[in-house]
């Protein structure tokens, strides 16, 4: 069965209810019973990867309840199914658009920017309505979520007006008339629904993305979100447009495999987007410019840490990643020249050795290979040495890693005190 047929099949039972909802005064402006709108809304919800945050582990999709970890505390994501009491069943399309564009709930309470309205403000009203129409077509799920989990003083939602004044620029996306339609489409997706910058940009002390470091790499849940500007060293500079499309579509390209939160983004979102939209995003990312920190000089092979790291690499890593760091295509990621290795922030490398991880599994590349956790047999010093070795071998050059940095990541990902 083709995916479009599946969509129709899954949407159809909802039409009747959607029709009934239309009779209500608060019904959506977009046609909830219009297949084209609903299908378009579904595609946009996929592009926005709404399901990733609005679903609790093992919970019903879109029914909320995931604890999003922020520097200020955990925020529980809300239920966005059309349940009247606990979801957005009583919302109008205007209410929904206000949330998307202004970060406000019906009645005016402010949302936290963990909901990336700072990006969604760029989404057109027509797209917002289509998203709303799709969400209305879902089965309503009764799921009450505690929306007040942040500690004082962050629990004072009105404080967000000051935050917004500092860090929020409302306004729908404006295409650049000097750029191609494709570039503008990509910009609209990356800067709007895709909200790529939310992870791939570092945060300031107020939890806002640093605008001067936009897309130069950030950190989320103890994973490094790499530089995705066109920077040749740490970004996409050496990647072709096709490489980027391939990565987003199947979860791997140039010998590297998406893992961590990007695995979920690929599996839930980008692998299901149209080729045209993926290409537009790739074109935009490649053309919008290159920024990043200057290349450090590699740590010398004679350095003691490098020698220890090499011994560990040969013993523990090389059977899969190969002695020269070339990896095995589609199964074991390449380390030579991999951008994740070249990031200033080594967190992903440290955590994946300690705790392991899975690669993305997609229809074209279903294997989803695994990195085993090795934290049980490598101590902080050893992990620091092998990460330093990998970051400064096979043509790579990046800052050395200390045992203290490993200890901190170990504490975060395993809860171990030491």
């Amino acid at each position: 069965m083709s995916s479009i047929v599946k969509q129709i099949a899954t949407l159809r039972p909802r039409y009747l209810l959607a029709l009934a909802l239309l009779a209500m005064p608060s019904a959506a402006l977009a046609d909830s019973d219009n297949y084209v709108d609903v299908a378009r809304g579904k595609a946009l919800v996929t592009a926005g990867d709404c399901v990733a945050c609005h679903t609790a582990p093992g919970g019903t999709p879109f029914a909320g309840g995931l604890a999003l970890q922020t520097p200020f505390g955990a925020i529980m994501t809300p239920n966005i199914t059309p349940d009247n009491a606990t979801g957005i069943g009583s919302w109008s399309a205007d209410d929904f658009a206000r949330a998307m564009h202004e970060g406000k709930r019906p009645g005016g309470t402010r949302l936290y920017p963990a909901f990336p309205y700072t990006y969604y403000t760029k989404v057109t009203r027509a797209d917002s309505d289509a998203i709303f129409a799709y969400l209305r077509s879902l089965d309503p799920v009764s799921n009450t979520v505690n929306r007040n989990t942040l500690p004082f003083p962050f629990n004072i939602r009105s404080s967000m007006s000051a935050w917004n004044a500092l860090f929020f620029t409302p306004g729908v996306f404006k295409p650049d008339p000097n750029k191609s339609e494709e570039f503008n489409r990509g910009a609209y997706l990356v800067e709007g629904l895709g909200h790529c910058g939310a992870c791939h940009t570092p945060l300031n002390a107020f939890g806002a993305n640093k605008s001067d470091k936009y897309l130069q790499g950030g950190q989320v849940d103890n994973w490094t979100a790499p530089n995705i500007t066109n920077d040749a060293r740490a970004g996409l500079g050496k990647w072709s447009v096709d490489d980027v499309v391939q990565y987003l579509k199947v979860g791997q390209a140039r010998g590297v495999i998406a893992s961590g939160p990007m695995k979920d983004v690929v599996e839930n979102s980008t692998s299901k987007m149209s080729d045209a939209d993926l290409k537009a995003m790739a074109v935009y990312l490649k053309e919008r410019g290159a920024t990043g920190s200057p290349a450090p000089s590699p740590v010398s092979a004679d350095d003691g840490r490098m020698k220890v790291g090499e011994a560990i690499y040969v013993d523990t890593c090389s059977a899969c990643h190969v002695r020269n760091g070339s990896g095995i295509e589609h199964v074991f990621p390449k380390l030579a020249g991999a951008t994740i290795v070249a990031q200033d922030d080594p967190t992903s490398l440290i955590r994946i050795i300690i705790a392991g991880g899975r690669g993305a599994a997609t229809d074209q590349r279903p294997t989803g290979p695994a990195m085993p956790s090795l934290g049980f047999r490598l101590n902080d010093e050893q992990i620091a040495a092998v990460v330093t070795y990998v970051r400064n071998s096979f043509g790579n050059a990046a800052s050395p890693v200390t045992a203290d940095a490993v200890k901190a990541v170990r504490g975060n990902v395993t809860g171990a005190a030491d």
């Binding site: 069965m1 199964v331 229809d363 074209q364 279903p366 294997t367 290979p369 695994a370 085993p372 956790s373």
Partner: protein
Amino acid sequence: MARRLPRKDVVIVGLGWTGSILALELARTGLNVVAIERGPWRDTAADFNIGTAPDELRYGVRHEMFLRPRQETMTMRNNSSQTALPIRKWGSFLPGNGVGGAGMHWNGQTWRFLPDDFRIRSHMTERYGEGILPEGNHIQDWPVSYDELEPFYDQFERCLGVSGKAGNLKGAIQAGGNRFEGARANEYPTPPMKQGYSQELFMKAASGMGLHPFPRPSANLSSAYTNQYGCSMAPCTYCGFCERFGCANSSKSSPQTCVLPALVREPTFEARTECEVMKVNLTGDGKMATGVTYVDANGEEWEQPADLVLVCAFSIFNVRLLLLSGIGKPYDAAKDEGVVGRNYAYQTGSGSTAFFEDAKFNPFAAAGSLGCALDDYNSDNFDHGPHGFVGGASITNAYTNGRPIMYHPTPKGTPTWGSAWKKAVHETYQRVTSVGAQGSVMSYRANYIDLDPTYKDPLGRPLMRITFDYQENERKMANFMAERCEEIAKAMGAKTATINRLNGPWSVIPYQTTHNTGGTVMGSDPTTSVLNRYLQSWDVPNVFVTGASAFPQNAGYNPTGTVGALTYWALDAILNKYLKSPGALVQK
């Protein structure tokens, strides 16, 4: 009382090689498929960490991957005059447990049977006369030919990415491969594995004797590979932890590496693990299956109705399930009537252990299918006239492993403990190799499976009873092969070569091989077979049975290649014949 679940199109019993391939291919046509597996879910990512997978005590000695005898065991005896007793600790063979089944804990040797094997009765009779067939035999031709199976062998080899060198491409003999093999349409998917020093000696010695050695086909892959389902594998690292272990490197072909990653993405597929199928349910007249009844991990009983029932458990467990379900007439050895349980067969092992004066074989750099073999003495590749037996063996020089706990060969006469033993292990470990013969076992009236009259499993069902012994024909054959192995071992330069003959009755204690065959054999005659040529039950046409239980007798090879080919062959019949017009595909 079992609670009834919503109907499915297809229910599959057992999620190993055959079950997972059928599940994937049928789910992809849009059918709703549920697989019911009595063991746990296992996958490479979650279960086979490189830091813990090569744990010989846990997996090799304590049998982590295998069925617990208390879950199910079987009774055994050597002949009908004895009283069978239950096997309480696995020895002779190791039945798997859990997703992947035997395809997960195997070594990966993936052979095709030879064209003559499929018409062995006709062929031997034509060449030597009836007199060559042993007394009491049930040897019968397969209802399918090598040529018919060839495209399906090819499909299975591409699924696994088998590493090897063709010896016969479309009739043209190829240097470096097995010149005796049936014609292949295609080269192996990946090149042969790198061989060790011992194999180098074997190749040289055997060639010098006028024999035709070649690197054996291996499902421990020589190079990275992506199969027709998009599943990717990495090259083998020769760690030597294959049989009894899961592969942490994604290098050993298994349902886990080759099928499940694609299967779990199918929206119409569902797996229920730790659920034991009690029986296949039949309509009142016994002519159609209505589904299965199973017990889940909480002891709750469920009825799963389905239009099509695929019995895909491990070989001998298929036999028991059919007996427990009343599908097909049970074999009665006293009367030599009935079919289910008939023609149980096994495999012979014999050979020679070669001790060298000064060699370093590095057996720790090994793999389950690493090795070189020769087929000069297999099937009817040699003149059986002077020898008076039927059958043959593949002769192999191989290291499957050099693991520390269980691999410590010592010369005969060495004490089994103490300092003299330690000294011998130390001196021998690097200097010993072996030439082994894995031989065919014919089918006989005397060897069969039925339900035990005394012993029951925890669910109250009778255990199966295996009545088996090697017959004179097999002993003769195996001992002939042992002598050939000894000749080769000596030619390799061994200082001493001991000969390992097949003597005495079959014992369940030492490990021999998990190549149990027969019991639900396929055939052209419903009075001597359970299944028709498409693995479809003669009696209940919406039941198909896969696996080595379909073999009319066993050949001189590991069975998995043929099990896989038969699976794709049956799948083709299900897709192109059965689903279009459900019913018997061959009239009785």
